[in-house]
């Protein structure tokens, strides 16, 4: 199960990919409930949306892409695959 709280901890670890390597970008997540910028006022409505996004969205199938090197980390059956091929390991 990839909830966004987990996604928020992940970073790309391909060899030499050490900057701008998170957050990994979801392909087609389709959730726009949160504003792009942190609002000045943190009210209950915002916290509820944040809770929804962090804990209630489960990504079962999909992929995450490194914003720096474009490495694709697939998600299958709710499990993200963070393994690298031998030549990609730093």
């Amino acid at each position: 199960m990839v909830r966004l709280i987990t996604h928020n901890l992940l970073a790309c670890h391909v060899k030499n990919c050490t900057s701008n390597n998170f957050p990994l970008a979801f392909k087609d997540l389709g959730d726009t409930s949160l504003p792009a910028e942190q609002p000045d006022m943190i009210d209950d409505e915002f916290l509820q949306k944040l809770h929804h996004v962090l804990l209630e969205i489960h990504v079962e199938e999909g992929s995450m892409v490194c914003p720096n090197c474009n490495h694709v980390y697939p998600i299958s059956n709710g499990i993200p695959n963070m393994l690298l091929a031998e030549h990609e390991i730093g």
């Binding site: 499990i79 963070m82 390991i89």
Partner: protein
């Protein structure tokens, strides 16, 4: 009756290939049977998890069947969030529903667990992103001293440098009385020379896991069938495990008519003091000072102007045939 015993292991040239063959592939094959024998959390680990503050997020590096993911049980579900990392995909499928309360309609009532498919020497997370990390019975599966040290470094890197807490368990050469288990002596000589060359003490062994045909399908443990010599640390009743001459263990198997499959898992059994030394060495590589949290009330004196990262060894010891160490990070 087939017999299996703990045997010395030779590491092939490529440690990654060695682990793939003798650790990852084995766990993928024995996942459900293995999981059926692993459900009772050890007290020190359960206590460690129950002392974490509410809202903590942690990493379980080598989560296996995820038996620590639902803990602590004495607090409301979700009071902390442990994310399970493992190399075995099949174990992760089990870990996803660890501790699930499955009702009559087979509906899983708990929140599915968070798990990641990855290697404990990989680094697929932001530095310092976790409040705590545990690595239970995992680092002993890595085939070289450098790789074991790297695994410890990854734990030190993944937690908060100012307050991260870490608990590590590895299998010990010194086995408890209960299991009456011992390991081959012939590998002593070999590893003593390894120790001198800086490769670390301890012993490399294969530990057989016997899988009957019955176990391959649905993972139900049948009667007296067994045995992993490690199983006595969980709740499984051993059949006829006997220590023969003090130099190697023999496990006599009570088997059905079907020939069982035997999988040899690789272990590096830790010597006394080796785990703490590994932690010291990993911390040293990262420029982390080992010592207690300095008294913040002292504003002057030698070393007071020093700024950097520290690591306190909160406790270390031996429990149930394993060595453990608990660590706490600090920064000033």
């Amino acid at each position: 009756m087939p017999k299996t015993s703990v045997t010395p292991a030779q590491i092939e040239n490529n440690p990654q290939a060695h682990e793939d063959q003798h650790v990852h592939a084995v766990y993928d094959k024995i996942a459900s049977h293995f999981s059926s024998t692993r459900y009772k959390p050890w007290p020190i680990i359960a206590h460690f998890l129950s002392t974490l503050s509410t809202g903590s997020v942690g990493l379980d590096a080598g989560t296996g069947n995820g038996k620590y993911l639902p803990l602590p049980l004495d607090r409301p579900p979700g009071s902390i969030c442990t994310i399970g990392l493992d190399r075995s995909r099949n174990l992760l499928e089990i870990a996803r529903t660890a501790g699930a309360d499955v009702d009559e309609a087979s509906t899983i009532k708990c929140m599915p667990r968070e798990v990641i498919w990855g290697d404990v020497i990989g680094k697929g997370w932001r530095d310092g992103a976790f409040d705590y990390a545990i690595s239970i019975a995992t680092i002993h599966h890595l085939a070289t001293h450098d790789r074991r040290k790297l695994a410890v470094k990854r734990l030190l890197q993944c937690v908060s440098p100012s307050r991260g807490r870490i608990l590590i368990y590895v299998w010990a050469i010194e086995q408890d009385e209960l299991s009456r288990r011992s390991v081959p002596t012939e590998s002593y000589t070999k590893n003593d020379s390894l120790a001198e060359s800086g490769m670390g003490p301890g012993r490399d062994v294969f530990v057989p896991w016997v899988l009957s045909r019955q176990n391959t399908n649905n993972g139900k443990l049948k009667g007296k069938l067994s045995k992993d010599p490690l199983a006595s640390r969980s709740n499984v009743t051993d059949s006829t495990q006997s220590c023969t001459n003090g130099t190697s263990i023999e496990v006599t198997l009570m088997l059905g008519p079907d020939e069982p499959q035997v999988f040899n898992r690789y272990y590096h059994m830790f010597a006394e003091g080796e785990l703490v030394e590994l932690v010291r060495s990993a911390a040293g590589d990262l420029g982390i000072h080992i010592g207690p949290i300095p008294d913040q009330t002292l504003s002057s004196g030698p070393g007071m102007e020093w700024k950097g990262r520290g690591l306190e060894i909160v406790q270390d010891g031996w429990e149930r045939s394993n060595y453990y160490v608990e660590l706490r990070c600090w920064e000033k």
